[in-house]
């Protein structure tokens, strides 16, 4: 058998034939194309944003006036729990996986993610775990102990129903998806970069996704262990958190926050990467201090592991531990400061164009700085002890999360949706959306600083008149609805642009990274030829990239020998091997369905059902790993 084949012969199939997927609705179940999976992530995460948003609006309506009884206290507990769980696990992390899935292979000049079927599996498990968590509403047993679910409130004695089981199992479930996605990102970014993209030419957004993925791999197992221990205690009578039998409730808090604090950076690092991707494009200037920004991102990811006990200053920990953590909590502001100064320097040195994405970036800068400053205030232990568990915490937290994630994210939507759909979003509507969101956000959350200092505890169902909380609460509620309206405007813009947006062309903004070197939307194979990269801003420095495929004489590789992509070396991106990629398959969706049935079986104690689920899962796995076509595995 011949082992060398002529790539240029007319008998070899075209890229369309080799990379094309089946068409039609059913193909959304079997697709392994990173772009379609990314789109599914994005849309699903936005649906959960709406769900979590509606939950928060109901809570804000309940708190608009003293002594209201719109909903019962039980429902209020369920809403704030599900709001937190939804926003953290079903919106923030998956939406970044969505952007990452769509953009990372394009930005590094690859044809897909390293493990396309694992990628599909990650999405389906995310969807299934969301369905699992929200199915709690159908049973009437919704988790109600807060998103950090402290024992003993969530233990078997004080939460006897199956409410908390939905929480513990749901988080284990969604962790499977997040971990799978993270490992996929790490291998993709380390091994699939276009030839010439050495480690010092990786776009900052890709660095952000890499830092996020490493943090997930190192932090998430701790949450999984916490949830497994809790579930063993709840369902089988084990003792880990029960002080009466040698356990300790603080163990839960340690495990939860060892995960929980890095989680904040898991969410923020890729979002900061988005900011670093947008600023050069809209200032027309190379990023100031690229290397410092990358170091700052990595430092943030690292220090983020050393600060978990600053959530526990009021639990009576030893003074030494508190001092150490307080110190690292002050330290963590430094890398964020480095990045902020680099952004400001780039803005000053360049010529900013105030398009909608740039407005969101500027809004982000202001809000994130306020959130960061109130964060430093918490690192001061005496202040923390004063405002602990008050609305001041909620204010700080949302300034960091909405400032650090939602604004960059919406900027990124306006920036990259034209690449994904081929159509521009409306500029006027975009500006309206930004200003409504910006005003709504500040009107909603700034008064919460005041409410917190006036002593309003978080998670209160209602409050008495005459405590000075009435005015700020009403203002805050009005702001919340305004914020909701602003978000709705962008969603409307998204739908509107689908049919009425102006055609985007390859590169509507004059961007500097590789995704702009292909069509909008990109073809299934991303690039006609895998380009050779010679700088950090390839589409600025290599004009031939913009004119379409880089010809083989200039370094472009057509890779026509099959369903192929390139494996390159870790540090300098030299080509090492060609890799056969798997085709569309139903195995991931079947395996995920098995997991969903299995988890339902466990939560209801229906062990037969759990067995059915496990069998379906195993079947999906065997189908998955049974080699066929020309996949790399064996």
């Amino acid at each position: 058998m011949a082992t060398v084949h002529d790539a240029t012969s007319s008998s070899s199939p075209s890229l369309e034939e080799m990379w094309g997927e089946p068409q039609g609705l059913g193909s959304w179940l079997s697709t392994v194309d990173h772009k379609r999976i990314g789109m599914k992530y994005l849309v699903t995460a936005m649906v959960f944003l709406v769900a979590g948003g509606v939950e928060s609006l109901i809570m804000r309506a309940q708190l608009a006036q003293p002594n209201l009884h719109l909903i019962s206290p039980e429902v209020y507990n369920q809403l704030f729990t599900m709001h937190g769980v939804t926003m953290m696990f079903l919106f923030a992390t998956p939406v970044l996986s969505g952007f990452g899935n769509y953009l990372v292979p394009l930005m590094i000049g690859a044809r897909d993610m390293a493990f396309p079927r694992l990628n599909a599996f990650g999405y389906w498990v995310f969807l299934a775990s969301g369905i699992f968590l929200y199915s709690a509403f159908l049973t009437g047993h919704v988790p109600d102990a807060g998103w950090f679910n402290y024992v003993p409130l969530s233990g078997p004695r004080f939460a006897p129903g199956i409410n908390i089981d939905f929480y513990a199992l749901g988080l284990i479930f969604v962790a499977i998806s997040t971990t799978a996605g993270a490992i996929n990102f790490i291998v993709t970014i380390l091994k699939m970069r276009a030839p010439g993209m050495s480690i010092n030419r990786i776009p900052i957004f890709v660095w952000g996704e890499l830092a996020m993925s490493f943090s997930i791999v190192f932090a998430l197992p701790t949450l999984t262990v916490a949830c497994v221990l809790l579930e063993l205690e709840r369902k089988f009578g084990f003792h880990f958190f029960d002080a009466g039998h040698g356990g300790d409730p603080l163990l839960w808090q340690h495990l939860f926050w060892i995960f929980g604090h890095p989680e904040v950076y898991i969410i923020i690092l890729p979002a900061l990467g988005m900011v670093s991707a947008l600023i050069p494009t809209f200032t027309g200037r190379r990023m100031v201090g690229y290397i410092w920004i990358v170091i700052a991102e990595m430092a943030t990811a690292l220090i983020g592991f050393g600060v978990w006990t600053h959530h526990m200053f009021t639990t009576g920990l030893p003074q030494v531990a508190i001092s150490f953590v307080a110190l690292s909590s002050f330290f963590i502001a430094i890398p964020s400061g480095v990045q902020i100064f680099a952004w400001i320097a780039t803005l000053i040195a360049g010529r900013p164009r105030l398009k909608t994405p740039m407005l969101f970036v500027l809004g982000f800068l202001l809000v994130f700085v306020i959130g960061g400053l109130s964060g430093v205030m918490f690192a001061a232990v005496p202040f923390d002890q004063q405002v602990h568990d008050s609305y001041f915490v909620i204010a700080h937290f949302h300034y960091v999360m909405v400032g650090g994630l939602l604004f960059p994210l919406f900027g990124a939507l306006y920036y990259w949706l034209p690449k994904m759909t081929g159509r521009m979003m409306g500029e006027g509507l975009g500006k309206w959306s930004f200003w409504t969101m910006f005003a709504g956000f500040n009107v909603c959350f700034f008064p919460m600083h005041v409410m917190g200092i006036l002593g309003q505890p978080r998670r209160t169902y209602t409050y008495q008149a005459g405590l000075g909380w009435t005015g700020p609460n009403l203002i805050s509620t009005i702001g919340a609805f305004l914020l909701g309206l602003g978000i709705a405007l962008t969603f409307w813009n998204w739908v509107w642009s689908r049919w009425h947006g102006a055609p985007a062309g390859n590169d509507p903004w004059g961007g500097d990274t590789l995704e702009w070197a292909t069509t909008s939307p990109p073809p299934e194979y991303n690039f006609e030829t895998i380009p050779t990269v010679a700088s950090l801003e390839p589409t600025w420095d290599q004009p031939n990239l913009r004119d379409g495929a880089q010809p083989p004489e200039a370094g472009g590789r057509p890779l026509l020998g099959g369903h192929l992509t390139l494996s390159t070396s870790l540090l300098d991106g030299t080509p090492r091997a060609v890799v056969f990629m798997p085709h569309a398959t139903l195995a991931p969706v079947i395996a995920s369905l098995g997991l969903l049935v299995g988890f339902w079986g466990v939560v209801f104690g229906a062990w037969l059902l759990a067995g059915v689920g496990a069998t379906v899962f195993a079947g999906g796995m065997i189908d998955w790993f049974w080699p066929r076509h020309q996949t790399q595995e064996t």
Partner: protein, 219 residues
């Protein structure tokens, strides 16, 4: 013409594939650090290692909270060592045939591959059998997971590891079926190498479990 890798007709030489760049030919198959699967397995092992670390950290956290003279708690003797040490010897020796199988297929020895995989499977299954049939019933006579935190930790740590052995055995069955079908050769053996990595990891973790659960209470 497309390159075919029908499992019955595997080429004995590494296929080279043109990238389309002038004159450039690259391996069309990679195992080890040039393959994606190798790094994916490393990622899985890392995250699994963190799972075990969290469990062991929980063990020592609760132990130190209990105070110096309460571990194991009153009424429970320190763990008996004879059987666990025999189990350890069996489990660790299971890494040897798996290692030999991994290297046999790199030389193209199908027989070495199949024998090594089978040997590793049998030793691993013996370990798991001893744990479930001999050790657990004996221990359950003394304390159960519901007795106290010590009992919960004992069974959670060893059970969690046992579950990993079980998953390793399931993967081994799959790899053995593929080996008997002749799916692997000198160049195509990613699945064997990745399985071997996972198996050695599970064996290595046992060292920590042994020190934590069985040896440390006697200190």
């Amino acid at each position: 013409m497309a390159i075919t890798h029908a499992t019955s007709d595997v080429p004995e030489v590494d296929p080279l594939v043109p990238t389309g760049a002038p004159g450039e030919l690259l391996p069309g198959y990679a195992s080890g650090p040039d393959s994606f699967g190798f790094w994916g397995m490393l990622g899985l092992i890392t995250t699994e290692a963190l799972l075990f670390s969290s469990l062991i950290a929980s063990y020592f956290y609760l132990r130190f909270r209990a105070g110096p003279h309460h571990w194991p708690p009153a009424g429970i003797a320190p763990p008996e060592l004879t059987l666990p040490l025999i189990m350890t010897a069996i489990l660790w020796s299971s890494s040897i045939p798996v290692h030999l199988a991994d290297h046999a297929i790199r030389r193209g020895s199908q027989r070495g591959l199949r024998l090594g995989l089978l040997g590793g499977f049998l030793l691993g299954a013996t370990f798991l059998g001893l744990q479930l049939i001999v050790e657990y019933p004996k221990t359950l006579d003394l304390f159960t997971p519901r007795t106290n935190a010590y009992g919960s930790l004992f069974f959670t740590l060893t059970g969690f590891h046992g579950f990993h052995v079980l998953v390793g055995l399931a993967i081994s069955v799959f790899v053995q079926i593929r080996a008997w079908q002749g799916a692997f050769d000198r160049h195509r053996h990613l699945m064997v190498r990745n399985f071997a990595m996972y198996w050695h990891f599970v064996d290595a973790v046992w060292a920590l479990i042994l020190c934590t659960v069985y040896l440390s209470p006697r200190l």
